[in-house]
Subunit: 338 residues, 2 copies
């Protein structure tokens, strides 16, 4: 089971909601200053705590033992950060539950990065799940906490709640109308950040954007979540209005371009990741707006993740060359759509 | 019934075969020098002859009474020449049989242009059919014929047999490999001409070419037909070889572009004539080469003709604007392909 097997509730604009909590243990330096042995000690301590106190079974993934493909699958699944996969992986441990709704990175930037991801708009649900793990850790470990500053973190931007809540949005209409720049400015003004599919610095391919809270100091988790939820609600509303305008106002031009993308996605024999994301975005828009009527009950979020390079490679080891991967991607998509 | 309802025999490379005979009546000036009354007299004479001597029923279409749309339908059906539709149509009569396999233009460049068109490679069949009409005319009328020069025609390029035999070829592989120029040079050397879809001066859209005999003086009809048939056989052979090379040699690139065209043709909401011809050509190639397997028993030649502008307009009078016609074209194609 993966988080993206689930059905999203909010009619497609919001793909997923994510909350991560940054935590550190008292009496240990931050990971950057830890020796490999100390890191391993921290991993073992936390693993023991989770095993003793949690009622459910967890997977413990030693990042040092993971192949490049395995690491990239975790990355494409949004279970780990790019930073967690890169460089020396000694003393990096990933803890996940069976459903992959929660993952704990040990010795990323902080000792603990507890993360929960849920399909659709469900920041509250993601927070509850992450919080449940946080409670377990706090029961078994002395967590670095200051009465005035809150949770102490390696980077001062996470001080306070140590919480980053984010949602993944699909915004084809806002993108098509050139309103993303305005959105970014507006969100920044109210302390929120807009980024591309794979987080910081990544390009917004497939009209996919992450919106997250920026401020962790001087606000409660509850307030931060409410603020983000409210902002996302407004973005979703605006996106829906614009979709209607685009479809009713522009003659057949918009429908035509959506349907052509569908035709290509369905019949092409080769598709690069980049082209796929563009077509995927059009088709998702088309399905949700009723322009494309001949595919039903397709989990487009799952498709999005499962045709990313590492996922293809894991299934087809012969597809090491990107051109071969482009063929396999087209094949897999055909199977989804038929 | 129209000629293009029939199934072609030669596996798609040859769409149709056509023979036309130029004839003139003795004791009348060529049409260009005729008064409107004389032209009408000629029409009446020939009509009487056909009615008296032919065993089958013919349609008599007075070009003066035809709307612009009707004329263009005849043109798109390849039953008349553009010249026959343009200018003053007084005294122009078209005679066709029920199956539209034969048409006689009265007072085009010559008094009579007897034309027969057959699906696939069947120049012989087209000649026989045209010849049958020619025999009827010759029984009832004094046809201008010179022992030394043969049939006398308005333009000296038709002197002799007065016969132009042509085949319509679909040559996507030769086009894609840039070999059309060579073909034109080669054909010219042996007295044959290569032209686009709608004859002289027209562009070769949809990889469609007409190959016809140029020489009418000093050769028999039989020899001219044999020469053309043999040349066409060689072109077809070369085209087939190249198709195999393209599909086996180029990896998936060629299949990919064919399949994308199919996807667009199937799902687009708007298609111009020009874009349609390009996609149609790819899809025809794809069906014949087995790359596209999910459409069967589709008469692509019929589709080609029936989505041309005048045919659409006749069916949907509201589609006077070309943008509206592009929508109807896409709709019609969807219906063909579903």
């Amino acid at each position: 089971m993966k988080w993206y097997y689930g059905k999203a509730s909010s009619e497609g604009v919001v793909l997923s909601s994510r909350v991560r909590l940054a935590r550190n243990l008292e009496n240990y330096p931050f990971p950057k200053k830890c020796s490999p042995d100390t890191k391993k000690e921290i991993c073992q301590k936390i693993k023991n705590t989770v095993e003793q106190l949690a009622c459910e079974r967890f997977n413990y993934i030693n990042m040092e033992d993971q192949s490049v493909i395995d690491k990239n699958i975790l990355l494409e699944d949004h279970l780990v950060s790019r930073e967690f996969c890169e460089g020396d992986c000694a003393g990096k441990l990933l803890i996940t539950d069976e459903q992959n709704t929660v993952s704990v990175m040990i010795n990323e930037e902080d000792h603990l990065r507890i993360q929960s991801i849920m399909p659709g708009l469900d920041i509250e649900g993601a927070y509850e799940r992450a919080n449940y793990i946080d409670d377990i850790i706090c029961q078994g470990e002395k967590v670095a906490f200051d009465e005035k500053l809150g949770y102490l973190t390696s980077c001062p931007t996470n001080l306070g709640t140590g919480m980053r809540a984010s949602v993944m949005l699909h915004l084809p209409a806002l993108t098509s109308c050139g309103q993303i720049k305005n959105l970014v400015v507006l969100m920044t003004k109210i302390g929120l950040t807009v980024r591309g599919l794979y987080g910081e610095g990544s390009e917004a391919e497939g009209c996919l954007y992450q919106v997250s809270n920026q401020i962790t100091l001087g606000v409660s988790e509850k307030d931060a979540i409410e603020k983000l939820t409210s902002a996302v609600g407004q973005i979703v509303e605006r996106e829906r209005q614009l979709r209607e305008t685009l479809l009713s106002g522009g003659g057949l031009d918009f429908e035509d371009s959506i349907c052509r993308s569908y035709g290509i996605l369905r019949y092409a024999k080769k598709l690069s990741s980049k082209e796929f994301l563009k077509l995927w975005s059009d088709v998702k828009f088309g399905v949700e707006s009723g322009v494309i009527r001949d595919i039903h009950d397709i989990n487009l979020t799952r498709m999005l993740v499962e045709v990313m390079p590492a996922h293809i490679l894991a299934k087809y080891p012969e597809a090491a060359q990107s051109s071969k991967r482009d063929e396999k991607r087209a094949e897999m998509i055909k199977n989804y759509l038929m």
